[in-house]
Symmetry: C2
Subunit: 223 residues, 2 copies
């Protein structure tokens, strides 16, 4: 199964690419600019051992969306709509994983604050844009920091909270997330719950800043 | 130091009373009805060993607010304003800990959803009501479930996320929360961050329901 990481040249896209490539998944890093995508692929290759890197290549977002079996959107909020529009016609009935976080930092404000988007969450914004398609929108990976994904020497110490109105797609993404060692997926039910999950990220950023660390994550206890 | 638990006859008030009494703190359980408060005190005493229960009594909310050194508000959202108004003149410059969660369940909706209050968070709603007083409003205990507090045979497995615009009060409440064994307090900075912290509770309720458990909590990792 090929995962197309759309907007995959940013830190979160790179970090997810790194972890999935290492886990043996086939990865396509997409970017508006194919050259940038290739540079990102080189960066991933540099961070891994030689034997681990056969399964990744770069291309434009459009080609990545065409080729990938699963679409993983890792763009900042301000690029979410324009990026989705550019690949919409190639998505078909694929799973679209939205990892967007509505941070005020994306609008020139503070990354420790969220902004309320009209649809309730960034993931529901994606769902609205794709509402007349067969795409299955899943919210995931919002709380797993790029820093912790890129810190390849250590396992990621964070739960992955997964929401979707499509139960089968939700389960599939939960299984995918758990290919990253030490990540535990939690079924958070319908997509509307991304409203809460996405808002936890600015709190984690706040705790990072406040404690001069970079790897804040969260674990649900009592399960 | 005496802690007045205002509206302390509900599950969360009872649970916090139980844990704090056990930790040796002086507790006043407040209720609109002094008799109800006394009944709650009896319930706490029944749940503890004889040697542990010298330091608790019940009274009206007004008397509790007068007598307590710290005010701890544990009422459902719909009782928050009316309860605060009833004790406002007795608060003075005391710390007011707000544990209110803006659950849609308080309005006849689902406890797995939050409602947006105008002030941004229930804690900021308390702060607005007290804005011409010297009270120091602190948001805490929102994510620690009543079930887990009342489950006295086990330690609480949850972080306590604490926000306040008054740094000294914030630190004081952080120290207070850590009197409950195994609870770790985290400094979340200004009161506005209660907007995020409070919203995590309906997610925990969702995970409780979804997994048929009662004790979901959260831990921040990477610290």
């Amino acid at each position: 199964m090929k995962i197309a990481i759309i907007g995959g040249t940013g830190d979160q896209g790179l970090g997810l690419a790194l972890r999935f490539v290492k886990a043996g998944e086939d990865i396509i890093i997409g970017s508006r600019d194919a050259k940038k995508a290739e540079n990102a692929v080189d960066m991933v290759k540099e961070m891994l051992e030689d034997g681990e890197v056969s399964n990744i290549h770069g291309s434009t977002n459009v080609d990545a969306a065409k080729e990938g079996d699963i679409i993983l959107l890792t763009v900042p909020l301000q690029a979410q709509i324009v990026t989705l529009r550019s690949i919409k016609e190639y998505i078909g009935d694929k799973i679209v994983i939205d990892a967007t976080v509505p941070l005020d930092g994306c609008l020139g404000g503070r990354p420790t604050r969220y902004v309320d988007v009209w649809q309730g969450s960034a993931a529901e914004r994606t769902a609205e844009l794709l509402e007349n398609t067969d795409a299955k929108v899943v919210s995931a990976f919002n709380n797993i920091s790029a820093a912790s994904l890129l810190n390849i020497k250590d396992d990621v110490d964070c739960d992955c909270l997964v929401s979707s109105d499509d139960e089968k797609a939700r389960k599939e993404v939960m299984a995918l997330a758990e290919k990253i060692p030490n990540v535990r997926s939690l079924d958070c039910g319908p997509l509307e719950n991304a409203r809460i999950v996405e808002k936890i990220t600015p709190l984690l950023i706040n705790l990072n800043i406040r404690n001069k660390i970079k790897l804040a994550g969260l674990r649900i206890t009592g399960l």
